[in-house]
Amino acid sequence: MTLLLRRVRPEQVRELTLVFILVAVVAFFATQIPNYLAWQTFTDISTGLAIIAVAAVGQTLVVLTRNIDLSIGSVVGLVAYFVGTLLAGTPGMPAPAAFGIAIAMGGALGAVNGVIVAFGRVPAVVATLGTLAIYRVALVELSGAKTVTTDSLPAWLLNLPRMSVVSLGQLDVRPLVLLALAVVIVFQLVLSYLPYGRRLFAIGSNPDAARVAGLPVERDVFVAFLLSGALAGLAGFLFLVRFGNITVVAGQGLELQVVAAVVVGGVNIFGGSGSIVGALAGATLINVLQQSLIRWPAVSAFAQDAILGLLILLAVASDKVILGRLRTIWVQARRRDEERAAATAAEQATHGA
């Protein structure tokens, strides 16, 4: 056991636990809900998950730097509406253009957050609480309270969610899911292997030290917000594709779900630790619970939120209480090893002398 503990870092235990809980939850519902393990279930879950997962990737980048982006819901709504209107107005617009515009627009909105937080030194909660409201206004003004409707959208867009890129047996892998998966993989690699990714950990871990070490803290934080916005833009595009109907309240409250996913996924809300894969696991767990509870006759569908609230609390508490203990054990084991080594070395030295 101690050997294992020394091999695996507490943070990795965290992600493994999450996967374990996920499996347990699925196994539980399989016994409760008839036909639960049908491929259709997974197709449903994965499609619903894509939007949250993409946005959660961006949120992870920001949270790692000890900040938070609460404007995500409004960015998703605004981008979905804007691109929807654009496509309704110019039906001939090619798909990549619409896709690119969504990302660019999200990036621009994120950049505004980034400038205010990184260069204006406004606390992220304050800044993004403000832009949450402002971006929503932009949507309302833009729309004049009109709605983007499904029938105004081009056919390719509407078919996108039902299309399947690969069919593994009866599991249809939707393009939305593939896209989300690609985003997750790319950004996990960015965090693990690019200097920029490592700097995000450094900044969140100790901002003062980051400045003293000459890291471009402001620029990096700015870019994190920009990326978070761009990914929210992409999520907005997915939102449009999935729902088709976009009203002025599109995406409202999404930011809370995304923050919840990130927190459940073990990303430290005070920055410095966490991973994209963890955030994805968090988002998946939340989504599986939501989708399954609706179909679970034993409990009212309205119990969803109550259970979700408890889950978040459990996730955070286990992080603090259990991981804290694991970490202590781990550090102590290390220290004992070191001391033993030191003692032997000292002994050898005296013998040598």
């Binding site: 990714g197 450094a202 969140g204 871990s205 003293v212 070490a213 030295a349 005296t350």
Partner: protein, 477 residues
């Protein structure tokens, strides 16, 4: 002043002499108003931390600036710009091990820095500087939180760096460090250069003279007191994995010095008696009655007060006024029947302390954060004196204070003893402990080694006890 390659240059000066500002200028944190900096004979402008790095100037601080969530290897290489676009973990590990090897240190480079000791964290910082091809290494009070063993190891590393041609600017309050390691000594006073001399021409007395600008007599002075009844008795106090077997008695008007090297766990004894990190075994008797201390509230109830060594973080609420800080532990006394703060009463008591301890501030409504270190310490002392303690634990009360302020604090300690307060003085400065204490309890790695009367205590005896009288263990390589 000039700094030569391959020399260890000590920088001395009182607080406020301008040492920190000098470091900030050299590392690009602040810009000078005038004057020039030359590196290798070329005039340079250090505009930012990055530019300092490029010039080969690096600093190691008393509190290491590490990233707790990153691994040792990543901490070393985080600010490198030349390691390619993709992080090659394997290469980074190897390089990190190579750098640490040069320092003669072995650490698990994959381990997060969170679990490292302060000494190991400092080593990581030095390794970082080394990996950046450092030419000028500034060390700001690097020994302040190290044990003797760790200090020796650090000095070994510093000498090795000197051998590689690195110029080292070594800043320390500890005179013995300076005399042990420096090649030359520069003294600053009031932001001005005073002198630079080879170590052989400097004595502690001459250095102090240069620092204060006047000859210092014996500035530790105790007036004799007659100890009263036993106030505090401690039997076999222990805290699992921290310290054990601490026993002593303390009379009213007595000063008990707690001596020991860093890592001796003296502060932990103080924290246990004050209930911050309670003891889990042993007995504490106040006025011969056993008491249980599980929280600071318990300690205050039985009349134990404690001033922390970390004044900045733990001593004062900086934005609050002096008066509000003074009454913080005893706020209940200043509340009206409806729970409102009686400002007039609060101001009056603070005013009393301001005069008694001569706290230099415009008024008691002045924010505590705007005071100088010495005056802040006096506010801290006032705050605890106002609890009317029977036992007063002072943890490093003069750390970071300049000579004048130190003398004032010593004066206050002497007065406390006269007022019949039992004082426990924890200090890393041996001369201070020797001069101020009636008895000295020596600790080593959580164990009580000896108790000396002031008459029989000498630096040598205390130090021998503190080091366990063992042959000094060899540096672990």
């Amino acid at each position: 002043m000039a700094l030569q390659a391959g020399e260890i240059h000590a920088l001395l000066g009182e607080n406020g002499a301008g040492k920190s500002t000098l470091i900030k200028i050299m590392t690009g944190v602040v810009q000078p108003d005038g004057g020039d900096v030359f590196v290798d004979g070329r005039q340079v402008r250090v505009g930012s931390a990055l530019e300092a790095q490029a010039l080969g100037i690096a600093a190691v601080y008393q509190e290491p600036m590490i990233f707790p969530d990153l691994s040792v290897a990543e901490n070393i290489f985080i600010s490198h710009r030349d390691r390619g676009r993709i992080v090659d973990r394997g290469a980074m590990r190897r390089d990190a091990e190579a750098v640490l090897d040069r320092l003669g240190v072995r650490l698990d480079v994959g381990e997060p820095a969170r679990g490292l000791t302060v000494a190991a964290q400092q080593t990581v910082e030095i390794a970082k500087a080394l990996s950046l091809r450092v030419r000028v290494l500034i060390m700001d009070e690097p020994t302040a939180s190290l044990s003797a063993h760790e200090v020796r190891r650090l000095f070994g590393i510093v000498k090795a760096l000197r051998g590689e041609g690195v110029a080292i600017l070594f800043i320390s309050h500890r005179m013995e460090d300076v005399f042990q390691i420096a090649d030359r000594v520069t003294v600053l006073r009031d932001g001005r250069w005073i002198s630079t001399r080879p170590r052989s021409e400097v004595t502690p007395a001459s250095a102090i003279r240069d620092m204060v600008g006047r000859t210092m007599g014996d500035f530790f002075r105790r007036t004799p007191t007659r100890p009263g009844d036993v106030v505090l008795e401690v039997r076999g106090l222990a805290r699992e994995g921290v310290f054990a077997g601490v026993s002593f008695t303390l009379r009213a008007g007595e000063v008990l010095g707690l001596a020991g090297l860093v890592g001796a766990r003296r502060t932990d004894v103080g924290l246990a008696l004050f209930g911050i990190a309670p003891a889990d075994a042993g007995e504490v008797l106040v006025d011969s009655r056993p008491v249980t201390i599980r929280s600071p509230q318990d300690a205050l109830r039985v009349g134990i007060a404690y001033t922390t060594e970390d004044r900045r973080q733990l001593g004062l609420v900086f934005p609050l006024s002096i008066a509000a800080n003074v009454t913080l532990p005893t706020l209940r006394r200043y509340l009206s029947r409806f729970g409102l703060v009686r400002r007039a009463a609060e101001d009056a008591v603070a005013q009393g302390f301001k005069e008694r301890l001569s706290i230099r501030a415009p008024s008691v409504r002045t924010a505590a954060g705007s005071l100088s270190g010495g005056n802040q310490q006096k506010v801290v002392l006032s705050k605890w004196l106002n609890t009317r303690p029977r036992v007063f634990i002072l943890d490093e009360p003069t750390r970071g204070l300049d000579v004048g302020a130190k003398a004032e604090v010593h004066q206050i300690i002497d007065e406390l003893a006269h007022d019949g307060i039992a004082v426990i003085l924890i200090s890393s400065e041996l001369p201070e402990v020797l001069a101020m204490s009636d008895r000295i309890l020596v600790m080593r790695e959580g164990r009580q080694m000896a108790v000396f009367d002031s008459a029989e205590a000498t630096q040598e005896r205390v130090l021998a006890a503190a080091m366990g009288q063992l042959a000094t263990p060899a540096v672990v390589v």
